[in-house]
Protein backbone atom coordinates (compact mmCIF):
# COMPACT_ATOMS: atom_id res chain seq x y z
CA UNK A 1 0.00 0.00 0.00
CA UNK A 2 0.98 3.61 -0.54
CA UNK A 3 1.20 5.93 2.50
CA UNK A 4 2.03 9.60 2.87
CA UNK A 5 3.61 10.75 6.11
CA UNK A 6 5.39 13.90 7.16
CA UNK A 7 8.27 12.98 9.47
CA UNK A 8 10.16 15.73 11.30
CA UNK A 9 8.87 18.21 8.74
CA UNK A 10 9.80 16.21 5.61
CA UNK A 11 7.03 14.70 3.48
CA UNK A 12 7.46 11.08 2.36
CA UNK A 13 5.45 8.92 0.03
CA UNK A 14 6.19 5.25 0.68
CA UNK A 15 5.08 1.90 -0.66
CA UNK A 16 4.91 -0.54 2.27
CA UNK A 17 3.37 -3.98 2.95
CA UNK A 18 -0.09 -3.65 4.61
CA UNK A 19 1.15 -5.22 7.86
CA UNK A 20 4.01 -2.74 8.40
CA UNK A 21 4.32 -1.04 11.80
CA UNK A 22 5.00 2.68 12.10
CA UNK A 23 8.20 1.97 14.04
CA UNK A 24 9.51 -0.08 11.12
CA UNK A 25 8.70 2.71 8.66
CA UNK A 26 10.76 5.06 10.84
CA UNK A 27 13.70 2.77 11.53
CA UNK A 28 13.94 0.56 8.45
CA UNK A 29 12.64 2.79 5.68
CA UNK A 30 13.69 6.23 6.87
CA UNK A 31 16.78 5.23 8.85
CA UNK A 32 15.58 7.09 11.95
CA UNK A 33 17.00 4.63 14.46
CA UNK A 34 16.71 6.97 17.43
CA UNK A 35 13.26 5.46 18.03
CA UNK A 36 13.94 2.16 19.78
CA UNK A 37 12.13 -1.16 20.04
CA UNK A 38 12.42 -2.48 23.58
CA UNK A 39 9.61 -4.95 24.23
CA UNK A 40 7.63 -4.99 20.98
CA UNK A 41 4.61 -5.82 23.20
CA UNK A 42 3.23 -2.28 23.84
CA UNK A 43 4.58 -2.04 27.38
CA UNK A 44 8.00 -0.35 27.58
CA UNK A 45 7.60 2.96 25.74
CA UNK A 46 11.06 2.91 24.09
CA UNK A 47 9.28 3.42 20.74
CA UNK A 48 7.26 6.52 21.69
CA UNK A 49 6.93 9.19 19.00
CA UNK A 50 4.44 12.00 18.45
CA UNK A 51 1.65 11.23 15.99
CA UNK A 52 -0.16 14.46 15.10
CA UNK A 53 1.20 15.94 18.32
CA UNK A 54 0.29 13.10 20.69
CA UNK A 55 2.64 10.57 22.27
CA UNK A 56 2.01 7.03 20.98
CA UNK A 57 3.82 3.71 21.06
CA UNK A 58 4.93 3.39 17.43
CA UNK A 59 5.32 -0.39 17.76
CA UNK A 60 1.53 -0.53 18.17
CA UNK A 61 0.48 1.68 15.26
CA UNK A 62 0.12 0.35 11.72
CA UNK A 63 1.66 2.32 8.87
CA UNK A 64 -1.85 2.70 7.42
CA UNK A 65 -3.05 4.34 10.63
CA UNK A 66 -0.32 6.95 10.22
CA UNK A 67 -1.24 7.69 6.59
CA UNK A 68 -1.72 11.44 6.21
CA UNK A 69 -0.29 12.18 9.66
CA UNK A 70 2.64 14.19 10.96
CA UNK A 71 5.19 12.28 12.99
CA UNK A 72 7.89 13.71 15.21
CA UNK A 73 10.73 11.50 16.43
CA UNK A 74 13.65 12.14 18.79
CA UNK A 75 15.68 13.25 15.74
CA UNK A 76 13.15 16.03 15.10
CA UNK A 77 13.25 17.90 18.40
CA UNK A 78 16.84 19.15 18.72
CA UNK A 79 20.38 18.90 17.37
CA UNK A 80 23.59 17.90 19.16
CA UNK A 81 24.64 21.55 19.27
CA UNK A 82 21.14 22.81 20.05
CA UNK A 83 19.40 20.37 22.41
CA UNK A 84 15.71 20.57 23.19
CA UNK A 85 15.21 21.81 26.80
CA UNK A 86 14.04 18.31 27.77
CA UNK A 87 17.19 16.75 26.31
CA UNK A 88 19.35 19.32 28.09
CA UNK A 89 17.58 18.63 31.39
CA UNK A 90 18.12 14.87 30.98
CA UNK A 91 21.83 15.48 30.45
CA UNK A 92 22.21 17.89 33.35
CA UNK A 93 20.27 15.70 35.78
CA UNK A 94 22.03 12.46 34.82
CA UNK A 95 18.65 11.04 33.78
CA UNK A 96 20.15 8.32 31.60
CA UNK A 97 22.66 5.54 31.89
CA UNK A 98 22.57 3.17 28.91
CA UNK A 99 20.23 5.53 27.07
CA UNK A 100 18.01 2.85 25.57
CA UNK A 101 14.78 4.14 27.11
CA UNK A 102 15.76 7.81 26.71
CA UNK A 103 14.20 8.68 23.32
CA UNK A 104 10.82 7.32 24.45
CA UNK A 105 11.14 8.97 27.86
CA UNK A 106 11.89 12.34 26.27
CA UNK A 107 9.07 12.13 23.72
CA UNK A 108 6.60 11.13 26.47
CA UNK A 109 7.86 13.84 28.79
CA UNK A 110 7.55 16.58 26.16
CA UNK A 111 3.94 15.58 25.43
CA UNK A 112 3.18 15.46 29.15
CA UNK A 113 4.56 18.97 29.77
CA UNK A 114 2.84 20.39 26.68
CA UNK A 115 -0.54 18.93 27.72
CA UNK A 116 -0.32 19.92 31.39
CA UNK A 117 -2.44 22.91 32.26
CA UNK A 118 -0.28 23.98 35.15
CA UNK A 119 2.80 22.89 37.00
CA UNK A 120 3.36 19.16 37.07
CA UNK A 121 4.37 17.81 40.47
CA UNK A 122 6.42 14.72 41.15
CA UNK A 123 3.37 12.44 41.46
CA UNK A 124 1.97 13.65 38.13
CA UNK A 125 5.30 13.04 36.37
CA UNK A 126 5.60 9.53 37.81
CA UNK A 127 2.02 8.77 36.76
CA UNK A 128 2.63 10.24 33.29
CA UNK A 129 5.67 8.01 32.79
CA UNK A 130 3.75 4.85 33.74
CA UNK A 131 4.13 3.55 30.18
CA UNK A 132 7.91 4.09 29.98
CA UNK A 133 10.21 1.53 31.55
CA UNK A 134 13.84 2.18 32.45
CA UNK A 135 16.06 -0.71 33.53
CA UNK A 136 18.97 1.46 34.68
CA UNK A 137 18.25 4.69 36.47
CA UNK A 138 15.59 3.90 39.06
CA UNK A 139 13.56 6.79 37.59
CA UNK A 140 14.55 9.31 40.26
CA UNK A 141 16.73 11.49 38.03
CA UNK A 142 14.31 11.16 35.12
CA UNK A 143 11.57 12.67 37.25
CA UNK A 144 13.97 15.42 38.37
CA UNK A 145 14.82 16.17 34.74
CA UNK A 146 11.19 16.45 33.65
CA UNK A 147 10.41 18.76 36.56
CA UNK A 148 13.43 20.90 35.68
CA UNK A 149 12.59 21.04 31.97
CA UNK A 150 9.01 22.21 32.41
CA UNK A 151 10.24 25.62 33.56
CA UNK A 152 12.26 26.07 30.37
CA UNK A 153 9.75 24.83 27.80
Amino acid sequence: MEIKVKVNGTAHSLDVPDNTLLVDVLRERLGLTGTHVGCDTSQCGACVVHLDGTAVKSCTVLAGQADGAEVTTIEGIGRPDDLHPMQAAFRENHALQCGFCTPGMIMSAIDMVQKSDGRLDEAAVRDGLEGNLCRCTGYHNIVKAVLAAQDRM
Partner: protein, 260 residues
Protein backbone atom coordinates in the same frame (compact mmCIF):
# COMPACT_ATOMS: atom_id res chain seq x y z
CA UNK B 1 2.54 -10.60 12.08
CA UNK B 2 0.95 -12.60 9.30
CA UNK B 3 0.08 -10.82 6.06
CA UNK B 4 -3.29 -9.08 5.81
CA UNK B 5 -5.00 -6.48 3.65
CA UNK B 6 -5.49 -3.12 5.35
CA UNK B 7 -8.60 -1.05 4.56
CA UNK B 8 -9.74 2.34 5.79
CA UNK B 9 -13.39 2.70 4.72
CA UNK B 10 -15.08 6.10 4.89
CA UNK B 11 -18.68 5.00 5.50
CA UNK B 12 -20.35 2.53 7.84
CA UNK B 13 -21.86 0.55 4.94
CA UNK B 14 -18.49 0.31 3.23
CA UNK B 15 -16.99 -1.00 6.48
CA UNK B 16 -19.64 -3.67 7.00
CA UNK B 17 -19.47 -4.79 3.35
CA UNK B 18 -15.68 -5.09 3.58
CA UNK B 19 -16.32 -7.40 6.53
CA UNK B 20 -18.82 -9.48 4.58
CA UNK B 21 -16.45 -9.76 1.60
CA UNK B 22 -13.44 -10.69 3.73
CA UNK B 23 -12.45 -14.29 4.22
CA UNK B 24 -11.79 -13.42 7.85
CA UNK B 25 -12.09 -9.73 8.77
CA UNK B 26 -11.16 -7.82 11.92
CA UNK B 27 -12.21 -4.29 12.80
CA UNK B 28 -9.47 -1.98 14.07
CA UNK B 29 -10.08 1.02 16.36
CA UNK B 30 -7.22 2.05 18.66
CA UNK B 31 -5.35 -1.17 17.96
CA UNK B 32 -4.06 -1.37 21.53
CA UNK B 33 -5.49 -4.85 21.88
CA UNK B 34 -5.74 -6.03 18.28
CA UNK B 35 -2.19 -5.12 17.16
CA UNK B 36 -0.46 -6.93 20.08
CA UNK B 37 -2.71 -9.92 19.31
CA UNK B 38 -1.66 -9.85 15.64
CA UNK B 39 2.00 -9.53 16.61
CA UNK B 40 1.77 -12.59 18.83
CA UNK B 41 0.12 -14.41 15.94
CA UNK B 42 -2.88 -15.19 18.12
CA UNK B 43 -5.10 -13.97 15.28
CA UNK B 44 -4.63 -14.20 11.52
CA UNK B 45 -7.29 -12.08 9.82
CA UNK B 46 -7.16 -11.84 6.02
CA UNK B 47 -8.42 -8.24 6.21
CA UNK B 48 -8.01 -5.53 8.85
CA UNK B 49 -10.72 -2.86 8.59
CA UNK B 50 -9.72 0.42 10.25
CA UNK B 51 -12.78 2.27 11.61
CA UNK B 52 -10.96 5.57 12.22
CA UNK B 53 -12.08 7.05 8.89
CA UNK B 54 -15.81 6.68 9.64
CA UNK B 55 -17.55 10.01 10.19
CA UNK B 56 -19.28 10.87 13.49
CA UNK B 57 -17.70 8.02 15.46
CA UNK B 58 -15.70 10.19 17.85
CA UNK B 59 -16.56 12.74 20.51
CA UNK B 60 -18.73 13.32 23.56
CA UNK B 61 -22.12 15.08 23.48
CA UNK B 62 -24.69 15.78 26.18
CA UNK B 63 -28.44 15.97 25.59
CA UNK B 64 -30.49 16.43 28.78
CA UNK B 65 -29.42 13.68 31.14
CA UNK B 66 -27.89 11.49 28.40
CA UNK B 67 -24.16 11.55 27.65
CA UNK B 68 -23.37 10.02 24.27
CA UNK B 69 -19.79 8.91 23.60
CA UNK B 70 -18.67 7.88 20.11
CA UNK B 71 -17.12 4.42 19.83
CA UNK B 72 -13.87 5.86 18.42
CA UNK B 73 -13.46 8.31 21.35
CA UNK B 74 -10.04 7.74 22.90
CA UNK B 75 -9.71 6.98 26.61
CA UNK B 76 -7.75 10.25 27.06
CA UNK B 77 -10.68 12.30 25.79
CA UNK B 78 -13.13 10.62 28.17
CA UNK B 79 -10.62 11.11 31.01
CA UNK B 80 -10.54 14.85 30.29
CA UNK B 81 -14.33 15.23 30.14
CA UNK B 82 -16.43 16.31 33.13
CA UNK B 83 -19.70 14.88 31.74
CA UNK B 84 -19.67 11.93 34.19
CA UNK B 85 -16.79 12.34 36.67
CA UNK B 86 -16.74 8.66 37.69
CA UNK B 87 -16.38 7.65 34.04
CA UNK B 88 -13.57 10.17 33.54
CA UNK B 89 -11.77 8.77 36.55
CA UNK B 90 -12.20 5.22 35.21
CA UNK B 91 -10.86 6.19 31.77
CA UNK B 92 -7.94 8.08 33.34
CA UNK B 93 -6.88 4.93 35.18
CA UNK B 94 -6.65 2.72 32.09
CA UNK B 95 -3.14 1.46 31.29
CA UNK B 96 -0.79 4.36 30.66
CA UNK B 97 -0.82 7.69 28.82
CA UNK B 98 0.03 6.12 25.45
CA UNK B 99 -2.62 3.43 25.75
CA UNK B 100 -5.15 6.15 26.64
CA UNK B 101 -4.06 8.24 23.65
CA UNK B 102 -4.96 5.40 21.24
CA UNK B 103 -7.42 3.01 22.92
CA UNK B 104 -11.14 3.60 22.37
CA UNK B 105 -14.43 2.98 24.17
CA UNK B 106 -15.81 0.88 21.30
CA UNK B 107 -12.72 -1.29 21.05
CA UNK B 108 -12.62 -1.85 24.78
CA UNK B 109 -16.22 -3.01 25.16
CA UNK B 110 -16.29 -5.01 21.90
CA UNK B 111 -13.37 -7.00 23.25
CA UNK B 112 -15.08 -7.87 26.59
CA UNK B 113 -11.75 -8.54 28.28
CA UNK B 114 -12.63 -9.78 31.78
CA UNK B 115 -10.05 -7.33 33.24
CA UNK B 116 -11.07 -4.23 31.26
CA UNK B 117 -12.38 -1.19 33.12
CA UNK B 118 -15.18 0.20 30.92
CA UNK B 119 -17.42 -2.88 31.24
CA UNK B 120 -17.98 -2.04 34.93
CA UNK B 121 -19.51 1.30 33.85
CA UNK B 122 -21.57 -0.23 31.04
CA UNK B 123 -23.36 -2.54 33.50
CA UNK B 124 -23.47 -0.18 36.52
CA UNK B 125 -24.83 2.86 34.69
CA UNK B 126 -28.07 2.99 32.74
CA UNK B 127 -26.46 2.62 29.30
CA UNK B 128 -27.32 1.74 25.72
CA UNK B 129 -24.76 0.50 23.21
CA UNK B 130 -25.58 1.79 19.71
CA UNK B 131 -24.41 -0.22 16.73
CA UNK B 132 -24.57 -0.48 12.96
CA UNK B 133 -27.66 -2.70 13.45
CA UNK B 134 -29.51 -1.26 16.45
CA UNK B 135 -29.40 -0.50 20.17
CA UNK B 136 -28.34 -3.07 22.78
CA UNK B 137 -29.08 -2.48 26.48
CA UNK B 138 -25.83 -2.15 28.44
CA UNK B 139 -26.99 -4.86 30.85
CA UNK B 140 -27.33 -7.35 27.97
CA UNK B 141 -24.10 -6.47 26.16
CA UNK B 142 -21.54 -8.75 27.82
CA UNK B 143 -22.34 -12.42 27.37
CA UNK B 144 -19.14 -14.32 28.14
CA UNK B 145 -15.35 -14.35 28.33
CA UNK B 146 -14.34 -12.12 25.38
CA UNK B 147 -17.95 -12.45 24.14
CA UNK B 148 -20.64 -9.85 23.58
CA UNK B 149 -24.13 -9.58 22.13
CA UNK B 150 -22.62 -8.15 18.92
CA UNK B 151 -23.63 -10.17 15.88
CA UNK B 152 -21.34 -11.09 12.97
CA UNK B 153 -19.88 -7.90 11.47
CA UNK B 154 -21.81 -5.54 13.80
CA UNK B 155 -19.98 -2.29 14.63
CA UNK B 156 -20.34 -0.37 17.90
CA UNK B 157 -20.94 3.26 16.92
CA UNK B 158 -21.55 4.94 20.30
CA UNK B 159 -22.68 4.41 23.87
CA UNK B 160 -25.36 6.45 25.67
CA UNK B 161 -25.04 6.80 29.44
CA UNK B 162 -27.74 8.32 31.64
CA UNK B 163 -26.01 10.68 34.09
CA UNK B 164 -26.30 9.08 37.54
CA UNK B 165 -27.09 11.08 40.69
CA UNK B 166 -23.72 9.93 41.98
CA UNK B 167 -21.17 7.28 41.04
CA UNK B 168 -17.68 6.16 42.02
CA UNK B 169 -15.22 3.67 40.54
CA UNK B 170 -12.64 1.81 42.60
CA UNK B 171 -10.17 -0.68 41.21
CA UNK B 172 -7.36 -2.85 42.40
CA UNK B 173 -4.98 -2.50 39.45
CA UNK B 174 -2.52 -5.08 38.32
CA UNK B 175 0.72 -3.30 39.29
CA UNK B 176 2.32 -3.89 35.87
CA UNK B 177 -0.45 -3.46 33.28
CA UNK B 178 -3.02 -1.49 35.32
CA UNK B 179 -5.77 -3.81 34.09
CA UNK B 180 -8.35 -4.41 36.83
CA UNK B 181 -7.68 -7.41 39.05
CA UNK B 182 -11.10 -6.31 40.27
CA UNK B 183 -12.94 -3.05 39.56
CA UNK B 184 -16.25 -1.91 41.05
CA UNK B 185 -18.50 0.95 40.01
CA UNK B 186 -21.24 1.96 42.45
CA UNK B 187 -23.94 4.24 41.03
CA UNK B 188 -27.04 5.81 42.59
CA UNK B 189 -30.10 6.77 40.56
CA UNK B 190 -32.97 7.87 42.80
CA UNK B 191 -33.55 5.06 45.30
CA UNK B 192 -31.78 2.47 43.18
CA UNK B 193 -28.18 1.40 43.78
CA UNK B 194 -26.24 -0.35 41.01
CA UNK B 195 -22.98 -2.22 41.59
CA UNK B 196 -21.05 -3.15 38.43
CA UNK B 197 -18.11 -5.52 38.81
CA UNK B 198 -15.29 -6.21 36.35
CA UNK B 199 -12.16 -8.34 36.71
CA UNK B 200 -13.75 -10.86 39.05
CA UNK B 201 -15.81 -13.08 36.76
CA UNK B 202 -15.57 -14.14 33.10
CA UNK B 203 -17.33 -10.90 32.13
CA UNK B 204 -18.72 -7.79 33.83
CA UNK B 205 -21.84 -8.28 35.93
CA UNK B 206 -24.04 -6.58 38.54
CA UNK B 207 -23.67 -7.76 42.12
CA UNK B 208 -27.36 -7.92 43.02
CA UNK B 209 -26.92 -9.09 46.61
CA UNK B 210 -24.74 -6.04 47.31
CA UNK B 211 -27.23 -3.78 45.53
CA UNK B 212 -30.09 -5.00 47.76
CA UNK B 213 -28.07 -4.53 50.94
CA UNK B 214 -27.01 -1.01 49.87
CA UNK B 215 -30.53 -0.03 48.80
CA UNK B 216 -31.69 -0.83 52.35
CA UNK B 217 -28.72 0.89 54.03
CA UNK B 218 -26.29 2.91 51.92
CA UNK B 219 -23.24 2.63 54.15
CA UNK B 220 -19.92 0.77 53.95
CA UNK B 221 -21.00 -1.35 56.93
CA UNK B 222 -23.94 -2.75 54.92
CA UNK B 223 -21.47 -4.62 52.72
CA UNK B 224 -20.10 -6.66 55.65
CA UNK B 225 -22.89 -9.20 55.95
CA UNK B 226 -23.11 -9.94 52.21
CA UNK B 227 -21.48 -13.11 50.89
CA UNK B 228 -20.00 -12.75 47.38
CA UNK B 229 -20.32 -16.02 45.46
CA UNK B 230 -16.95 -16.78 43.87
CA UNK B 231 -17.85 -20.12 42.24
CA UNK B 232 -17.33 -18.88 38.65
CA UNK B 233 -14.67 -16.24 39.47
CA UNK B 234 -11.31 -16.00 37.69
CA UNK B 235 -8.25 -17.47 39.35
CA UNK B 236 -4.75 -16.84 37.97
CA UNK B 237 -1.22 -15.96 39.09
CA UNK B 238 -2.45 -12.51 40.16
CA UNK B 239 -5.28 -13.54 42.49
CA UNK B 240 -7.36 -16.54 43.55
CA UNK B 241 -11.14 -16.58 43.11
CA UNK B 242 -11.59 -16.19 46.89
CA UNK B 243 -9.27 -13.18 46.97
CA UNK B 244 -11.19 -11.59 44.08
CA UNK B 245 -14.45 -12.12 45.99
CA UNK B 246 -12.87 -10.40 48.99
CA UNK B 247 -11.78 -7.50 46.76
CA UNK B 248 -15.34 -7.06 45.44
CA UNK B 249 -16.46 -6.34 49.01
CA UNK B 250 -13.52 -4.08 49.86
CA UNK B 251 -13.78 -2.01 46.66
CA UNK B 252 -17.56 -1.68 47.01
CA UNK B 253 -17.05 -0.35 50.53
CA UNK B 254 -14.47 2.16 49.34
CA UNK B 255 -16.77 3.39 46.57
CA UNK B 256 -19.72 3.68 48.98
CA UNK B 257 -17.54 5.52 51.52
CA UNK B 258 -16.59 8.07 48.84
CA UNK B 259 -20.24 8.59 47.96
CA UNK B 260 -21.26 8.69 51.66
Amino acid sequence: MYQFNYHKPSTLTEATSRMVEAEEGAYLSGGMTLIPTLKQRLAAPSDVIDLSGLPGMSGISIDGDIVSIGAMTRHAEVAASDAIPALAELAGGIGDAHVRNRGTLGGSIANSDPAADYPAAIVALDSTVRTSIGPIAGGDFFTGLFETALREGEIVTSVDFRIPDAAAYEKFPNPASRYAVVGVMVARCGDAVCVGVTGAGPYAFRATALEEALAADFSPGAVDGVAVDSSDFNADIHASAEYRAHLVGVLTKRAVARLG
